[in-house]
């Protein structure tokens, strides 16, 4: 790099020298050049002040909740339209899960009634009976299962497509609590029906397409 070309190139890099995103090699080049070049030092100082000013200048950020509510409604409409177009059941109905045969799922009306009946109740994890879990996707509504809440570590086969994983989560009525961890395992909350033992329930989860392993969380 010639002296002039170097000077031009350094001037060009100064904004990213200031925001500290240059790679090590470029940063060293700039530092070396700044030692000898008064013009670049002045420009660096100006740009630094400019950066402070841009950072400090206000842009009013409104509360996100109002905007989020609008987007949520838009997504729900889009999901319902998609379900209709594809001939699938509507969101709330889809929680009946055709092909899922290990949950005693009650009808929509009963679900709604139960949800209303249990509004305001805090649902602890562990062995407390739970009747109104809500699978937390925008495309399924509340589903009623009379059972106990359990936290399960759910590991999926790899590679897995999002659609397969989603289907598995819906079949298990899982609410994701956290994850994925480094092994790709999710901690999920499920409802084990009263008439099913935990072991039996876990075995049935393991049979679902895409699930590699399921165990009770420690």
């Amino acid at each position: 790099m010639g002296k002039k070309a170097g000077h031009e190139a350094i001037l060009e890099l100064l904004p990213w020298f200031i925001n500290e995103t240059l790679g090590e090699k470029e940063r060293d080049l700039v530092l070396g050049h700044l030692r000898d070049c008064q013009e670049c030092r002045l420009e660096r100082d100006r740009l630094q002040n400019f950066e402070h000013f841009v950072r400090d200048s206000d842009v009013a950020i409104p509360d996100h909740r109002f905007a989020y509510t609008k987007l949520q409604a838009r997504i729900e409409t889009a999901e319902q339209n998609r379900a209709s177009t594809e001939g699938l059941a509507l969101p709330v109905q889809s929680t009946n899960h055709r092909g899922s045969n290990f949950f005693p799922v009650v009808g929509i009306a009963a679900s709604i009634a139960l949800v209303l009946a249990f509004v305001g109740l805090v649902v602890p994890s562990g062995n407390a009976p739970v009747t109104n879990p809500e699978f937390t996707t925008l495309t399924t509504g509340p589903v009623s299962i009379e059972g106990t809440a359990q936290r399960v570590a759910l590991t999926f086969q790899q590679p897995i497509q999002a659609a397969t994983m989603r289907k598995a989560l819906i079949e298990t009525h899982s609410n994701i609590v956290s994850g994925p961890d480094a092994d790709g395992t999710y901690l999920v909350e499920v409802q084990v029906p009263f008439n099913t033992s935990v072991e039996e329930y876990l075995r049935s989860i393991r049979e679902i397409e895409g699930v590699q392993y399921a165990r009770l969380s420690e």
């Binding site: 995103t21 400019f50 000013f53 905007a67 497509q161 994925p180």
Partner: protein
């Protein structure tokens, strides 16, 4: 074969790791994860789009357009960049499209404002506005792409490589846009160096001298 989002691991710092985890959950339509992601991105997208578009009344809609795409396409994220770079890239395209719909082509806008860019008018403008608003007006003098580069560099702290990904252009284009933006804002820079509205008149006088124009 394309990698599934669920196979991806982030090696770009804790923030990106957390964003990726949320995005992986959004890919299976987890609404709790989506709301968290929305809360994370809403302030930065609002700020970026406010600066980019200069149309406050349109910002919320474009933020939602952006995050709607995130909801719909989360499973298509390839992990070639940080999640925030990917999301901001969507916001940039949505912002440009929205301006396009308004027939407010960025260059035209910049040109029409540039016509009033003489020292006397600028002086009048500053005496009427605060310094903060003047910066805002100064940013009106540059094109939307130049503003985008300024905002992404100075506020969001992106590298020029990341900006080229966000704006879907070569790195040299990013550098050129920054160069032109700096040249146009040259009058503003000495003023900001002083950071003192009382001395606006003096500084403007000073900035009208050719030596103050960078490059």
């Amino acid at each position: 074969m394309r990698k599934s989002i669920h196979e991806l691991k982030s090696s770009r710092g804790a923030e990106d790791e957390e964003n990726l985890k949320l995005l992986q959950r959004v890919a299976v339509k987890d609404k709790v994860a989506f709301e968290k992601l929305y809360r994370r991105f809403f302030p930065q997208l609002t700020r970026y789009l406010s600066r980019l578009m200069r149309r406050p009344e349109m910002v919320e809609e474009v933020v939602n357009d952006t995050l709607f795409v995130v909801w719909e396409k989360a499973d298509q994220f390839q992990g070639r960049s940080k999640v925030s770079t990917w999301v901001t890239g969507i916001a940039y395209l949505k912002g440009i499209k929205a301006l396009d719909r308004l027939r407010m082509m960025p260059e035209q806008q910049a040109e029409s404002l540039a016509e009033v860019d003489d020292i006397e008018e600028t002086r009048n403008l500053i005496s009427k506005l605060g310094l903060d608003q003047w910066l805002s007006s100064g940013l009106d003098l540059i094109s939307v792409d130049q503003r985008s580069v300024i905002e992404l560099t100075y506020f969001s702290g992106y590298s020029y490589q990341e900006i080229s990904e966000i704006m879907h252009c070569p790195v040299n284009t990013v550098k050129t846009r920054m160069f032109h933006a700096r040249r146009r804002l040259a009058k503003l820079l000495p003023l900001l160096a002083e950071h003192n509205p009382v001395r606006v008149e003096d500084l403007l006088q000073q900035s009208s001298q050719p030596d103050d124009i960078v490059r």
